[in-house]
Each structure stands twice: as structure tokens, then as C-alpha cells.
């Protein structure tokens, strides 16, 4: 499949590299055509890897991953182009973290809105799926690096788009189908983005970003 990856940071690189390894053709997009990180990444990753602008990557991909920093994501997807992204599946991996108040970061958007929803509103014809934003880049593309069962959350308004993302997560990234929890429509992004303060706090407590949560479920309580 042809896939676009917006963003050249740790997350963008991890996802783009894994997708190439899984056999996809991947174009990494950034603000400028000659972004050194993107060009170097493409050079390292063979014939299936290429680099370009956000719009180039968005035009290239049947599916596009938003791996930009949350504070720049709306700008990045608008630069990619509303019409270029129309009807395409956009996997939003970003978190709206606010580092301007110091560490640990707070959120730029929270409570009754989310970055996932803002991107969906900015691109009404694009099928936005929020996923992968609750784990670090290593776990995103290599979930078996963590021992035992653990879960990934996904949400979005379009069922077929979620099914397609589910397929990439399982076939290309190695997530077990039964580990992926569908939280419903795109307002579920409020839940997964607001989990970030707990993630950040656990990172500080554990001193290690290599963790995730497993949802442990018991029988429904007997009432009355």
C-alpha cells in the first residue's frame, strides 16, 4: 500500500520505517521539500522510501499518518490540504501536549474537545482515526517488546476506515487483533488524549517510557 507519514520526529520515523519494512511504499512529509531528516531517512530506507512536503506525502498515501507534534498538527494537515486528504484515511497519532508551562507537559486541548476532533472538523471529508497515541514510538511498532497482554485504543467516525487501520496495526505493526479496543466515534479521542497526563506521570515514576496498560475485565457485578 502507498502510505504518507506527516512528521519527521521519533514517532514519524518509527512508523515510516516499520511500514517500509512491512513492504509498503512510504513518503515522509515535512514543512519543506528538502527537510534534511526526511531526505536522510528516505536515503537510508531504500527504493520504497521517499520524502517530500506535507502535501506530497498526503497526495502519495492512500492512508496518511499524522505524526507531527500536537501543537503544529492542525497547521500540518491544513498544509497537506483538505482536498488532497478528502476521502482518505488519516491516522492521528499526535497528542496536544503543551510544553510551554514546563515539565511535565499539560494539554493544549482537553475535556470537551480533542485534537482528533479538531482535525476531523478541519478536514470534514477525511476519515480520521485516532490511534497509537497512548504508547511510545517503540511500542507502537513493536508491541511484542512488552511482555504479556496490553491494549491499544482506536476511535473514529468511519467503520471502514477503522477496519483498514486495524489491518495495518495487526499486519504491519504486530498488534494482536484482540488487543485493539474500539472506543467508538472520534469523541473517544478525548479519552485517549486525556490519558496522557497519567502516561507522563507514570513515565516520571517508572523512569522508563517502555510501558503500557492492559485493561483487566471481571464479570459484571451482581446488582440487587
Amino acid at each position: 500500500m502507498k502510505i504518507g507519514v506527516l512528521g519527521t520526529g521519533m514517532v514519524g520515523e518509527a512508523i515510516a520505517t516499520k511500514l517500509v519494512q512491512a513492504g509498503h511504499e512510504v513518503r515522509m512529509g515535512s514543512r519543506t521539500k528538502a527537510n534534511e531528516t526526511a531526505v536522510a531517512w528516505a536515503k537510508r530506507n531504500g527504493a520504497k522510501a521517499s520524502a517530500g512536503t506535507f502535501a506530497d506525502a498526503a497526495g502519495f498515501g492512500e492512508v496518511v499518518f499524522n505524526c507531527t507534534k500536537g501543537e503544529y498538527s492542525l497547521e500540518a494537515v491544513r498544509a497537506a490540504g483538505e482536498s488532497t486528504l478528502a476521502n482518505k484515511v488519516l491516522v492521528d497519532v499526535a497528542n496536544p501536549l503543551d510544553f510551554s508551562r514546563g515539565m511535565p507537559p499539560s494539554l493544549l486541548i482537553s475535556n470537551t474537545d480533542s485534537l482528533g476532533e479538531q482535525i476531523q472538523r478541519a478536514l470534514p471529508s477525511t476519515r480520521v482515526v485516532k490511534a497509537l497515541n497512548t504508547v511510545n514510538a517503540y511500542i507502537m511498532v513493536s508491541p511484542s517488546n512488552l511482555p504479556g497482554e496490553h491494549n491499544l485504543f482506536l476511535c473514529g467516525n468511519d467503520t471502514a476506515a477503522k477496519r483498514q487501520v486495524h489491518g495495518i496495526l495487526t499486519e504491519s505493526f504486530g498488534w494482536k487483533s484482540e488487543s485493539i479496543v474500539d472506543l467508538g466515534d472520534i469523541t473517544g479521542a478525548r479519552a485517549t488524549e486525556q490519558y496522557l497526563p497519567l502516561w507522563v506521570r507514570l513515565y516520571g515514576t517508572l523512569g522508563n517510557p517502555n510501558f503500557n496498560v492492559r485493561v483487566v475485565i471481571g464479570p459484571p457485578p451482581k446488582l440487587g
Copy 2:
């Protein structure tokens, strides 16, 4: 130990009842002295159970649990009395859920503040420990009802207070010591309260409140 429980709802009743069963003397507090739910609870639970106002319960307990609804918690702890609660350990179990916008609830406080911190600021001489607010009442007092390992988060500014609460959680409620994660000072309440939107969303998805999360930790990633 003498323990006060503020609140007569499902959480207050579950905690107060379990504490009596564990051998503690418990006074359940509510807005009025003759609250029917509290009086009936005391009657059902024998000589170690009593009922009174918020101030009665706060004065009675060496340790006091805030189990009121989050939207009323500041009012309740102020009614309990700043001087009455001075130097005592207050376990804040409440979540600042906002049901006024419909279901699922959003948060009344979020991002750069939390109910736990607001209560600590309102009662500067009280040693506030945020705990138990990430699981439903059944799991709070009977963690072994859920199969396998799962975690509980706790935070607060006072180390001795956290140690005392840790003791109640393990000895009276049955939490395993190694399942309790100390997230540091009371600002950790932002993390556990903002986890609630994910909890609420999972409840809707699973159709069952009998769940919790386990933090699955792998080896630190090798860098460079």
C-alpha cells in the same frame, strides 16, 4: 482505628461497610444529622458504625475518606471544617465529574488543576491523599474480585500520610502492596482524575464497570 466517611452514596457505603468489616469504628457523615441513608447504614452495621454530620464524622476519624460527589466535595470538606480536619489524613476518592452537559460526563476541573489539589488548598493543614478514584466501588474494597494483577494509583504531599493510607488499602481493603503505585505529590491527582474520561469510555464500550488497568512494564529501551 476510628475512621470518618464523608458521603452516603455507593462509594461511601462500600468503603464504610468494608472498614467496619475490617474491624474499624466508622462514622458516616452527611449534610444533615438525620440523613436517612446514613442512619439506616449505621443501624445495619452494628455497634462500630455510627452516623452524623460531615463535621461529626471528620471530628470522629483519625483518617477521613471523602466519598462525596466531586461537584459538592469542596463544600463538604469545608462543612467538615478546616480546623477539625487539621493534621488529619483525608483520603480523597472523589472525581470532579460534570453531568450537566449530558452523558458521558466531562470534568469540572482538568488539565492544570484537579479536585485533589483544590481540596489540599482549601485545607492547607490537612494531609490529603488522592486514592481509589480510578476504579468502581466494588473494586475499591474487593480488588481480588478482578482476576489477575491490576493497579491502584495514590498521590499526596505527605509521605507518612501515604504510608498510612497504603496500610488501610492493603490490610483493610485487600490491595496487594506491589499493586499500589505512588505517583508522587498531590499534583498527581491531575493524572488520575483525567484518566476518568477513558474509564467512562471503556465502561460504555465494555458495558461493565468491573474493570481496571494493569501497568505492563518492559525493559528500558536501548538508545543510541
